[in-house]
Amino acid sequence: MLQETAFTDMKAESKQQLSGSELLLQALEREQVEVIFGYPGGAVLPIYDKIYDSKILHVLPRHEQGGIHAAEGYARITGKPGVVIVTSGPGATNIVTGLTDAMIDSLPLVVFTGQVATGVIGTDAFQEADILGITTPITKYNYQVRNIEEIPYIVKEAFYIASSGRPGPVLIDIPKDIATGLAEMPEDKEIELPGYQPTTKPNYLQIRKLTEAVSRAKKPVILAGAGILHADAAEELKVYAEQQRIPVVHTLLGLGGFPAEHKLFLGMGGMHGCYTANMALYETDLLINIGARFDDRLTGNLAHFAPYATVAHIDIDPAEIGKNVPTEIPVVADAKEALKQLIAQEGKPPAHEEWLQTLESWQQEYPYVYEKNNSQLKPQKVMEMLYEKTNGNAIVVTDVGQHQMWAAQYYKFSKANRWVTSGGLGTMGFGLPASIGASLADKNACVLAVLGDGGFQMSTQELAVIREFNLPIKIVILNNGSLGMVRQWQELFYEERYSHSKNPVQPSFVKLAEAYDIKGYVIQTEEEAEAVLSEVLNNREPVLLDFRIDPGENVYPMIAPGKGLNEMVGVKL
């Protein structure tokens, strides 16, 4: 309602001069931005002066990198672009990791960076950085605003580019004089991008070809990636998989796209995926990839990947098809559109009873396993308890490392968009700030920020934001006093030479939390875990749980680098 009024006012006084910053804030309101993750500084002072009067919620991270990871968490849960504003120079360079992370995991972001005034660009002015040059390879698109009146259109186009096709980050660099200068509100302009026309509707002939291939298949399997989530196609995936009775394997990022407790779900594939999922990918004669990019952590050694399979690949990004794995049936389309058409084909389901039985027997024979040991708290046990005590309804956000894999293996996602993790880039320090964005995206959800002791210390400062907004985030630190994944690789591949992977000095995480007025617990046994979890998961208070887990625990199964999917180790105890 308020927005409409603002809009009519503007029309009435169409000759009114507005500053670049005002045009920017109005453009953000038109895009219905709910939250800005931003950090002020010299070059964005004029913009911050307008933010002061804006209705849009502004969240101040304690480090710009925290701001952009929070925006990624927000984007992952809502599907809408996360909005970030930072100043020029160091503010801008501090978001480079987040942009790269969002680029490789296809998360929509619209990021505004301040810039020195147009007249001094190129003179090595105070807090000047060539952020367009720096971010060209790590953005879907980037702009530098040269004329004040371009701002409304550029913002509109940026939101469109960030959220359409294969989503990704878009950066808009705003020189200070553009933010302060005055211009009339320009006429609204339709988006015109002749060079950017994402194909969303699948080619009918390829859909026919795929339907026929399914009917003939003896060992079909669907590999479902995050494309399912970006396309909001979880329901269609379920209908199609059930219609054809095709088992489903998820990538790390796809988790939640298909219900984990479904009888057709085989689990996660890849380096730390489960036996059945990986063997299904190895043995299959028809691999239907929907919205995954055949990342090396999923495929293992390409020479041994799906050696017997006809490969079909549905992807909105044509450049992903055939990039790593030769593909016989390419379908360039939005996953939802493609699945709808596949469902409508009502093709003859494959005769694959034997395959389904084999898969089921593998599932029984080779579930995830870990050594139960009463003297040490096992991280897998912690994840199982978290799953049970939250009934699988929590939003789970992780950092990167062993804990991330345990969370992916043991938390069973029944719904889409409840899982936030840094997949492609593997960014440590991602988890805590991303949990803030996820929590702001769904204020009612219980958010589990599952972290390692290493990654937590890369973004500890964001505890302040959790306190400030009183977010119901349960910080779960699986504390093994080491950089566990590095330590595991050193144990397995570097003759146990633990070079700089064991943290000699740890702060008290509980005291640290207390410094931010957040309650903390050290948990050393299953009994303590039981008691504390029952208490803290039932309220909306933030809390920090320092689980002292078995420091020698490794993530299994595992496919060693250079090995094929069929060469897993640690499948059995």
Binding site: L132, G133, T136, P137, K140, Y141, N142, Q144, R146, I161, L193, P194, G195, Y196, D317, P318, A319, G322, K323, P326
Partner: protein, 172 residues
């Protein structure tokens, strides 16, 4: 194998940076790249000559280029009948004795002398890269002081001799 890709792109700041960046990001080697205006205002043509090991790499290159928002069209014209030209300026040492020899080489190549100095002359040559290569080889013994090549610019010929049309003729 050498491939020639032509792109039409929006003439916007940073677009060339985005294209060349993509080549280095994806670890593709550009042999030459030329850029210039086209008949349409605001649209530039880029011609890239690349050396690739196999067809799948060239497919990736064209797909990745196509994905760029400012790229309007990408065509791998290597297989088509095309007009591909390059210009080179070569400063060669020359004495009054060798000048006529050099002239004799220039003529069949339809190159021309565009500047004469006391002990050197500047030759301009245009043509396909192979022709320029050959010319440089011939002129090398006289002593090349400086050499500048523009890289290839190209587009398909107006009339393409397709397989279909040859078949038609054979039926007649």
């Amino acid at each position: 194998m050498k491939r020639i890709i032509t792109l039409t792109v929006n003439n916007r700041p940073g677009v060339l940076n985005r294209i060349t960046n993509l080549f280095s990001k994806r670890n593709y080697n550009i042999e030459s790249i030329t850029v210039g205006h086209t008949e349409i205002e605001g649209v530039s043509r880029i011609t890239c000559a690349v050396n690739v090991e196999n067809d799948s790499i060239i497919e990736q290159i064209t797909k990745q280029l196509n994905k760029q928002i400012d790229v309007l069209k990408v065509t791998d014209i290597s297989e088509q009948a095309m007009v591909a030209r390059e210009l080179a300026l070569i400063k060669v040492l020359s004495t009054p004795n060798t000048r006529s020899e050099i002239n004799a080489i220039i003529e069949p190549f339809r190159a021309s002398i565009v500047d004469i100095g006391k002990d050197s002359l500047v030759i301009q040559i245009t043509g396909e890269s192979d022709k320029i290569e050959a010319f440089i080889e011939l002129i090398k013994p006289y002593g090349i002081k400086e050499l500048a090549r523009t890289g290839t610019t190209a587009f398909p010929r107006g009339t393409q001799r397709t397989k279909d049309s040859t078949r038609n003729i054979s039926i007649v």
